[in-house]
C-alpha cells in the first residue's frame, strides 16, 4: 500500500471545481505566502528554497536554490517559467496551469522577489489553449488584486508577468531553445558553454529558467518553511512530487505523492492511485521518467520513486511521467513510435540527431510493419552508439542538446530487455500483435 499521509503541496485545491478562480484561491490562503515573503529580505526567501532542497521539476532535477545562487552575485534580468511541457506522457504541468493558475502566478512572483527581477515570462506550450486563458486570467486578476504591478501589496517591489504562447515544438522545452523562441526565433538550442542561461540568457542577459511545478511549490515553502519541505521525502529527493501515470493502468492520472516513500508498485497498483493493470495483466515494462529515460522491467517495481534511487539503476525520474506497458503491448512498436517522435522533433542543427533519428525510425518501421532483417537489431545499436557513444547512462553527448542523446534510450532498453521480440518481428514479417 502506498504511503499517502504527506500534505498536498501543489494539489491542495484539486477537489474544487472552481480551483482556478481568484475567489477560491483567496478563500484557501492564496497570496498569503507572497505577503509573508514581502516582509522578508529577498535573500531570506531564497534561503528557504535552498533549505527545501527543491529539485527542479522539469526533467533535469537540478536544485532550484543552487540555480538561483549562481546569480546572487550579479543582478538577474529575467525570470522565465518553462511551461512547454512536451515530453511524451507528461501531463502534470498541464494539470497545474489549468487547475491552479494562481498558485503558479504566486510562485512566480515569490521567485521574482527572491531574485529581485522585475520582468518575468511564463512560456506555455501553444496547444494549452485553455491553460493560456486561465494563466492570463490569473495574471489579470493578480494585477487587480495588487499582487502584481507597481509596488506589490504596498511594498517597494514591482513586477510584470507576460504570458507567452509557444507554437508546437518539443525542443522548446530545452531552456536555451525556449529562450530563442521567446526572442521570436526558431527553437534552436544554443551551443554550450555557457551551460546556463544564468550567464547568457534572454537578450544575452542573465536569466533564470524554472519549471511550472517548481514555481508552484514556492507558496507552500514560504509559508511552511524550507525545513518542513525537506523533512518530506528522503536523501536528495525532498518534498512531494507530481507523477503523471499513463499507459495500461486502470486509473491513469496525475498523483501528488511523497518522494522516495513510495515505489513504482505502490503508484501503479494502489487502488487510490493507478489501481493496477487493465484486465489484471502483468507489467511488461515501465518507462520511468518520460520517453528520454531507459525502461525498467517488472523486477524493478519495488524501487522507490526518488531521483537517486532511479538514477542508480540506470534511468531517471526525469519529467515525472511513468508509462506502463503490459503483455499486450508491443515493445517494437513502442520503440518505433518514440523514435518517430524524436525524428519529427529534432530541430535539425546536429547531424547525429537529425539523420540518425530518421535512419533509426525507418529501420524500426520496417521491423514493425514487415521487411525487417535479423541484422537490423544490431544495426539499431550501432547507429545508436554513433549518437550516444558507448550507450552509457547518463549518455555521452555528440549534439548541442540532450534531445540527440535521448534517442537511443528506448531502443537500447527495448533490445536489451526484449531482443527476441525483435527477431520474432523479422520471422513474422511484421508485428505478431496485429
Amino acid at each position: 500500500m502506498a504511503t499517502l499521509d504527506a500534505p498536498r503541496i501543489v494539489t491542495s485545491r484539486a477537489t474544487y471545481a472552481d480551483s482556478h478562480t481568484l475567489s477560491r484561491y483567496l478563500d484557501t490562503g492564496g497570496y498569503q505566502a507572497l505577503r509573508q515573503a514581502l516582509t522578508m529580505f529577498p535573500e531570506q526567501v531564497a534561503a528557504q528554497v535552498d533549505a527545501a532542497s527543491l529539485l527542479g521539476r522539469g526533467g533535469a532535477g537540478f536544485p532550484a536554490g543552487r540555480k538561483w545562487s549562481m546569480l546572487r552575485k550579479s543582478p538577474v534580468s529575467y525570470l522565465v517559467v518553462n511551461g512547454d511541457e512536451s515530453e511524451p506522457a507528461t501531463f502534470k504541468d498541464h494539470f497545474l496551469v489549468e487547475r491552479d493558475p494562481h498558485q503558479l502566478v504566486e510562485g512566480v512572483i515569490i521567485a521574482a522577489f527572491a531574485l529581485q527581477v522585475t520582468q518575468a515570462f511564463i512560456f506555455l506550450r501553444g496547444e494549452f489553449a485553455l491553460g493560456l486563458e486561465r494563466v492570463q486570467q490569473a495574471v489579470n486578476e493578480a494585477y487587480e488584486h495588487g499582487a502584481l504591478g507597481r509596488r506589490i501589496f504596498g511594498s517597494s517591489f514591482s513586477l510584470d508577468i507576460v504570458v507567452h504562447p509557444g507554437a508546437g515544438a518539443y525542443i522548446c522545452g530545452e531552456e536555451t531553445a525556449l529562450i530563442e523562441a521567446l526572442e521570436g526565433k526558431r527553437g534552436f538550442p544554443r551551443i554550450k558553454p555557457p551551460f546556463f542561461p544564468a550567464v547568457t540568457g534572454l537578450y544575452g542577459e542573465p536569466t533564470v529558467v524554472n519549471n511550472v511545478e517548481t514555481m508552484s511549490n514556492l507558496p507552500w515553502i514560504v509559508q511552511h518553511g524550507g525545513a518542513a519541505f525537506a523533512a518530506l521525502g528522503a536523501g536528495r529527493s525532498t518534498g512531494t512530487r507530481l507523477f503523471a501515470l499513463a499507459g495500461r493502468v486502470r486509473n491513469p492520472g496525475v498523483f501528488e505523492i511523497e518522494m522516495v516513500k513510495n515505489t513504482f508498485r505502490d503508484l501503479i497498483f494502489d487502488p487510490r492511485l493507478g489501481g493496477g493493470i487493465i484486465d489484471d495483466r502483468r507489467v511488461k515494462a515501465i518507462i520511468p521518467g518520460g520517453v528520454s529515460a531507459p525502461w525498467f522491467g517488472p523486477e524493478l517495481l519495488d524501487l522507490p520513486l526518488g531521483q537517486d534511487e532511479v538514477g542508480e539503476r540506470g534511468s531517471m525520474l526525469g519529467s515525472g511521467s511513468i508509462v506502463v506497458m503490459d503483455e499486450t503491448s508491443c515493445v517494437v512498436r513502442a520503440a518505433w513510435r518514440i523514435t518517430k517522435f524524436f525524428s519529427r522533433e529534432s530541430c535539425g542543427q546536429c547531424t547525429p540527431c537529425r539523420e540518425g533519428s530518421g535512419w533509426l525510425e525507418r529501420i524500426l518501421y520496417r521491423l514493425e510493419h514487415g521487411g525487417g532483417r535479423l541484422e537490423d537489431v544490431d544495426l539499431l545499436l550501432d547507429l545508436s552508439d554513433n549518437i550516444a557513444p558507448g550507450l552509457t547512462w547518463p549518455p555521452q553527448q555528440t549534439t548541442i542538446c540532450v534531445l540527440g542523446s535521448s534517442i537511443p534510450s528506448s531502443i537500447h532498453a527495448a533490445i536489451s530487455m526484449f531482443r527476441d521480440d525483435f527477431y520474432e518481428h523479422v520471422e513474422h514479417e511484421g508485428c505478431p500483435h496485429d
Binding site: Y143, G168, P252, M325
Partner: protein, 206 residues
C-alpha cells in the same frame, strides 16, 4: 490598408508593447494572423515582418519551424489525433485511421467539404484520457470511434461553437491591466529599495 483587420492589428500592437524587443512578439502575432485566416498567408507574414522589424523570409523561416503554424489553407476545424506512446497503448493509431475514414481524407489532408483538416499530433499532455483528440487546440475528450463520429456531427451542426472556437490559440486570451514600466525607472526603484533594506539590516544589527 493592412491585411490584419483593425481589431487584430490593435491587439498586435498591444502584444508588441509587452516585450523589451519587438521580435519577441513573433509567435503571438503569428497566432493572431491564424486567428484571422486559419493559416499564414503571404500578406499576413509580410505584415508580421513589418510589425516585428524582420523580413518576410525570417517570418516564414520561423513559422515553418513550429507545428501549430499552417503555411497552406486549412479547414474550419483542425482535428489532431495523438498517437504518441500513451495514446499508442490506448489505440491512438486505430482512432487516427478511423478519423481519416470518417472525414474522407488522409493525415495532413482536408475533408472534401473543406471543413476539417486532420493531423497526427505528438503528445498533447492529456494522457489520462487517451487517445487524445484536440479540435482547434481544444481538448474534446473523444476516445472511441463512436464518440469521434458524434463529435464530428456536433461540429458540423455547429453545436460545439462554445467549446471549440475558431482558429487561434489566443482567441480568448486578453490581457487587462498591467503596465510596462521602463526598466531604468525600475532599476532606480530597486536601488532605492536595496538602500532602504541595507539601512534596515544595519538597524537590526545594532
Amino acid at each position: 490598408m493592412t491585411h490584419l483587420r483593425s481589431e487584430l492589428r490593435q491587439r498586435a500592437e498591444e502584444l508588441i508593447a509587452l516585450y523589451p524587443r519587438r521580435r519577441s512578439a513573433m509567435l503571438p502575432l503569428l497566432h493572431l494572423a491564424q486567428e484571422q485566416d486559419g493559416y499564414l498567408s503571404d500578406e499576413a507574414m509580410a505584415e508580421v515582418a513589418e510589425l516585428t522589424g524582420t523580413t518576410p523570409a525570417e517570418v516564414r523561416g520561423t513559422a515553418a519551424f513550429y507545428d501549430m503554424f499552417h503555411l497552406e489553407p486549412v479547414g474550419r476545424y483542425v482535428v489532431g489525433v495523438c498517437t504518441n506512446i500513451a495514446c499508442l497503448l490506448a489505440g491512438g493509431e486505430e482512432l487516427l485511421a478511423h478519423a481519416g475514414r470518417t472525414l474522407g481524407c488522409s493525415v495532413g489532408g482536408t475533408s472534401p467539404d473543406g471543413l476539417f483538416t486532420l493531423e497526427e499530433t505528438e503528445c498533447l499532455a492529456d494522457c489520462n484520457i487517451a487517445p487524445v483528440v484536440q479540435v482547434n487546440h481544444r481538448y474534446v475528450r473523444t476516445t472511441t470511434p463512436e464518440l469521434f463520429d458524434a463529435l464530428i456531427e456536433d461540429l458540423r451542426q455547429g453545436r460545439l461553437d462554445h467549446d471549440v472556437p475558431p482558429h487561434g490559440t489566443l482567441i480568448r486570451v486578453r490581457r487587462s491591466g498591467g503596465l510596462r514600466v521602463e526598466r531604468e525607472e525600475l532599476a532606480a526603484e530597486r536601488a532605492e529599495a536595496r538602500a532602504a533594506r541595507d539601512a534596515r539590516a544595519a538597524t537590526e544589527a545594532n
